[in-house]
């Protein structure tokens, strides 16, 4: 029996990620169309993170610009990776403003990564998000087109200020009417990553059988779907067409599985704890770490090159950072309620930056032939609003981590003139991963110079 292994670890060495215990091994994750046997440039990855309710900008923005700026209070945790992060100031997302008004959260959230203005009212309408443009290009190289992590849905209620609540929990959009499927449970994500390639001990023959069986099922479903579509009116057909497209896409991906190729193993680390839910907020630190670890490992194992992470939706939520000794809810504080709200916001913002930094350090410990995974990534960390109490969509807090394959320098505070569209940053991110787009969203006008 040939125990098939996975080719990736030839170039990606695990140097962190708690390897003390015997680790589960992922198998056969790479479609045959991927980077074959030849050493090419390391893969570029793109990710976007969201921090809810904006930040306390007073302790976020560095006083000086350029390469030798001093880290301000909120950003002090970044010190170990400062040279591989740029702080970018004065970007704006005009699409986040509902027409003529400051931003409601749903409108801002919908526009966060699309830089397109979401529809008000009963019909969904938005643009494609930057990560999904990237995924459309990069999915040819990996088993999973993209990961969208979090948040849990707090179902019920129509309280989204005249917008669909869909915008509140979905920042990744595959097109104007379709949010990208997201995962809310770290263990489910882990198991999915594990299962994508099949059981560890699967033989070539078993893999071939599984592939044949999957294709057989998809073939039946495909012809069913086509037959049904012929009977439907055009509006319904459009919805079922989405399904047909998905079935066909899955069929292509299953077809691409090479069941005979011997591969080296890539270790995914430990299975996350069961029942980690972001709303079980005292466990949020563990949830947050687990989600970011999954992105790091999926990047390292080259299961995907695109990810987004929204830890929790900015509803007037009940979340209190009690482990920091803060009794007030994050939302209350963002509206400067309670005692010393600015100080507490800074504590929260800094803690979140610190956790993000740990993630970046993990990426930076993952060595590739031409640098680290962090060197080869471009990762935005921001919010759909600037200051929580202003709900403003200009002067956004933006960290840009990674060096995009060392195509630009890190360690700088780059400040633009007011109203520099965040869409320009999205163009920069896309260009970095090989998509030569020239416009994005509602208001891009140049590739952000970095």
């Amino acid at each position: 029996m040939t125990v098939r292994k996975w080719e990736l670890s030839r170039r990606t060495l695990l140097r962190g990620a708690g390897a003390a215990i015997a680790l589960p091994v992922l198998e056969q994750m790479m479609p045959s169309i991927a980077r074959a046997q030849t050493a090419g440039p390391a893969p570029r990855r793109l990710a976007a993170f969201h921090v809810p309710y904006g930040v306390n900008m007073a302790t976020w923005t560095p006083a000086a610009t350029g390469a030798n700026y001093a880290l301000p209070e909120t950003l002090t945790p970044l010190a170990p990776v400062k040279g591989k992060v740029n702080v970018i100031s004065n970007l704006a997302n005009r699409a986040g403003y509902a027409v003529g008004t400051p931003g409601e959260h749903p409108c801002g959230m919908g526009a966060y990564l699309t830089a397109s203005r979401p529809n008000l009212g009963l019909t969904l309408g938005n643009g494609i998000s930057v990560d999904q443009v990237a995924a459309n290009h990069l999915k040819q190289f990996t088993k999973i087109p993209s990961l969208q992590l979090g948040p849990h849905e707090l179902s019920g209620g129509g309280d989204c200020q005249g917008y669909s609540c869909v915008y509140m929990t979905n920042i990744s959009w595959v097109n104007g009417t379709t949010p990208a499927t997201r995962d809310v449970d770290p263990r489910v994500v882990f198991n999915r990553l594990m299962s994508v390639g099949g059981p560890v001990t699967e033989t070539d023959a078993e893999a071939a059988k599984r592939k044949r069986q999957r294709l057989s099922v998809l073939d039946s479903v495909k012809s069913d779907t086509a037959a049904l579509n012929a009977k439907l009116g055009s509006a319904d057909k459009k919805k079922v067409d989405q399904y047909l497209t998905g079935v066909r896409e899955l069929e292509v991906r299953v077809n691409a599985i090479d069941t005979t190729k011997t591969r080296a193993a890539c270790q995914l680390g430990n299975e996350p704890a069961a029942n980690l839910q972001q709303w079980d907020f005292d466990k949020f630190p563990a949830f947050n770490t687990a989600m970011m670890d999954l992105i790091a490992l999926a990047f390292q194992c080259d299961l995907t090159r695109v990810a987004t992470y929204l830890p929790y939706a900015p509803y007037p939520s009940p979340y209190a950072y009690s482990w920091l000794g803060i009794p007030d809810g994050h939302h209350d504080l963002s509206h400067l309620q309670g005692t010393n709200p600015e100080q507490k916001l800074t504590m929260i913002d800094r803690w979140l930056v610190g956790e993000f930094t740990k993630f970046l350090q993990k990426l930076d410990a993952m060595q590739e032939p031409d640098g680290t995974v962090l060197d080869n990534s471009i990762i935005m960390y921001s919010s759909e609003i600037g200051s929580g109490n202003l709900h403003n969509h200009d002067k956004l807090p933006v960290l840009l981590a990674g060096l995009g394959g060392k195509t630009f320098a890190g360690g700088r505070h780059v400040s633009f003139a007011n109203e520099e569209p965040v869409a320009n940053l999205y163009l920069k991110m896309l260009n970095t991963i090989g998509v030569n787009a020239t416009s994005f969203g509602m208001d891009s006008n140049r590739v952000l110079p970095l």
């Binding site: 003529g100 008004t101 400051p102 009963l122 969904l124 087109p145 849990h152 849905e153 707090l154 179902s155 019920g156 209620g157 200020q161 005249g162 669909s164 609540c165 869909v166 509140m168 979905n170 595959v174 949010p179 990208a180 499927t181 995962d183 809310v184 489910v188 069986q213 999957r214 057989s216 099922v217 039946s220 069913d224 439907l232 009116g233 055009s234 509006a235 319904d236 919805k239 989405q242 998905g246 079935v247 899955l250 079980d280 907020f281 007037p316 009940p318 209190a320 009690s322 009794p327 007030d328 809810g329 939302h331 209350d332 400067l336 309620q337 309670g338 709200p341 200051s387 202003l390 709900h391």
Partner: protein
């Protein structure tokens, strides 16, 4: 006496009321007399033309799991790796908010494989002598009735040709019959015929609504009441033509409402309407509110569910949901409320001190509308306005500057908000929300009774918009119980859930008519179910508009 103020809204009336002038928004004007004194206004006449189009509906995650469990005859959650459905204008089953990306198909592939394996292992398709009859004949004999059940309609033999041929081919390729059958069962439950609730359009489209088939009506009924597929009895009723008559339709509705599976109506419709599913996810500050653990949160959710369920199944008027003098407690929640223990399990308990009972005095509502460390008068008021009165507040369009900073030291939340509302930027909405929430200030952020907030005696004087003054939760509950707006709002919510789509202006005639009938009949939620399922919106279908 409650008068139903007539508000002429031309866009909403379009041909809907004939000669009669019936209210559309049904604003309450100084309700001072009991609800029984509703005037006999002419009942709105709505034809079947007053309908918005019906989009195709995909099973929600909840519906998928319930449907799977009913097919298996045992609880199973094959859709657990699917993302939660997002709420679109109140409900997760709203087809207007449904879409699907390619990544979802892979999740469905996994879910369908788990379901198919469980079904075949449990021999839910029956058995067949493969040695005697051959794989292909057996496949057809087993798959045909199963597909009809899973797809919730009669099927043509040719519709499963592909799945039958696949059994033959997979056996030829080396699979056992059981393996091959499992794959074709998977194909049946991965089919859009299973995942989508398909309603056929008439061959000739007139642009007018047509009555749906009895099979389709049965499916609407079962997903409304059970979030699952029709059972054998409902299928038999369809075959016997019973759903073609109003009496037959109502008889099935009563039977299904009495069936334990209708718990889904409380779990989905009730929970999402009243948002009490959020009680499971509250996170009050553990220092200020120690001991709010999973068991207590569960008891909070259960209290509202059980009370709601009782209202759904008994002759009680929906209006007394606000004024009820009973509730459901376990020991955990009783202790939380400072009430005597009830013994093992959850018990229905008569309330005597006026501090508990109606939905406004339940810890679930009171907690989900609170911040971790304090009550939120604003959110409580907003909840009453949006959930009970269906009044949506737009975000202020003049909020050009920062909200005022609040000082918490030594003041009540009420006092802070009073200051807040003097700001004209805030007052437009807060003048409607806050004075409702003031009335509930005897209940703290986790729903416990209190006399003081921040050391100062609470003041529960409030106003229910537009101008109904009251003091305390009981008085607010009495006002709501007499307010005609609550019936229209209940109708809007239940109709939205029943149809699985947002209501449009053109639907409002039907809503007004149902609200009228609902109140005339005593405002019972069980009756409202019957009114909705026999209404044109439920029995008819207007195909969605053609799109380019």
């Amino acid at each position: 006496m409650i008068r139903r103020a007539t508000i002429v809204a031309a866009a909403l009336l379009s041909g809907c009321y004939g000669e009669s002038k019936i209210d559309v928004f049904q604003q309450a004007v100084a309700p001072t007399e009991p609800a029984a004194a509703f005037p006999k206004a002419p009942i709105p006449v709505c034809g079947t033309k007053e309908l918005a189009p019906t989009p195709i509906r995909r099973l929600t995650k909840y519906e998928f799991n319930r449907t799977a469990s009913d097919l298996l005859g045992a609880p199973i959650q094959p859709a657990r790796a699917l993302p939660d459905d997002s709420s679109h204008f109140g409900f997760t089953n709203n087809a207007d908010g449904q879409s699907l990306d390619p990544a979802m198909v892979e999740r469905y592939e996994t879910a369908s494989a788990e379901l198919a394996t469980a079904l075949v292992q449990a021999q839910k398709l029956g058995t067949c002598d493969v040695a005697a009859k051959g794989a292909e004949a057996c496949a057809r004999a087993l798959l045909a009735p199963f597909a009809a059940k899973a797809w919730r309609r009669p099927i043509a033999a040719t519709e499963i040709d592909k799945q039958v041929a696949a059994v033959r081919d997979n056996v030829a390729a080396g699979d056992s019959f059981t393996e091959a059958l499992t794959l074709s069962v998977q194909a049946v439950v991965l089919s859009p015929n299973f995942l989508y609730r398909v309603e056929a359009d008439p061959a000739i489209r007139t642009g007018e609504p047509t009555r749906i088939s009895d099979h389709e009506l049965a499916v609407r009924l079962s997903y409304f009441l059970w979030s699952s597929l029709p059972d054998d009895a409902l299928r038999a009723a369809v075959e016997a033509g019973k759903l073609s008559t109003q009496e037959g339709l109502l008889a099935e509705t009563r039977r299904m409402l009495a069936d334990p599976r209708s718990k889904a109506l409380t779990e989905k419709f009730g929970d999402e309407w009243l948002e009490v599913s959020k009680a499971g996810t509250i996170a009050p500050n553990p220092t200020l509110f120690p001991g709010v653990d999973a068991a207590l949160k569960d008891a909070m959710k259960k209290e509202t569910e059980l009370v709601f369920d009782e209202f759904l199944r008994t002759d009680r008027s929906y209006r007394s949901l606000f004024t009820a003098d009973f509730t459901y407690l376990d020991d955990r929640l009783a202790a939380h409320y400072g009430l005597p223990a009830v013994g093992a399990g959850t018990k229905r308990v008569q309330m005597t001190d006026g501090k508990r009972g109606g939905i406004l005095k339940q810890a679930g509502f009171l907690s989900i509308t609170s911040a971790p460390n304090r009550t939120s008068i604003v959110k409580r008021g907003q909840w009453v306005l949006s959930r009970l009165l269906c009044e949506e507040l737009a975000f202020p369009d003049n909020m050009a500057a920062e909200l005022p900073k609040m000082q918490a030291e030594g003041t009540t939340v009420r006092a802070q908000l009073e200051a807040h509302r003097t700001d004209p930027k805030c007052s437009a909405c807060h003048a409607r929300m806050d004075p409702i929430g003031f009335g509930l200030e005897h209940y703290d952020a986790v729903g416990r009774w209190r006399e003081k907030d921040n050391g100062v005696a609470v003041d529960t004087k409030g106003v229910l918009p537009p101008n109904l003054t009251f003091e305390g939760a009981d008085a607010l509950a009495d006002l709501l119980a007499k307010d005609v707006r609550v019936s229209t709002c209940a109708v809007k919510n239940m109709t939205t859930f029943a149809l699985g789509r947002s209501l449009r202006d053109v639907d409002m005639c039907n809503v007004s008519r149902l609200a009228y009938q609902f109140d005339e009949g005593g405002s019972r939620l069980g009756d409202l179910v019957g009114l909705i399922v026999t209404s044109p919106a439920f029995t008819h279908r207007l195909p969605p508009k053609e799109v380019p």
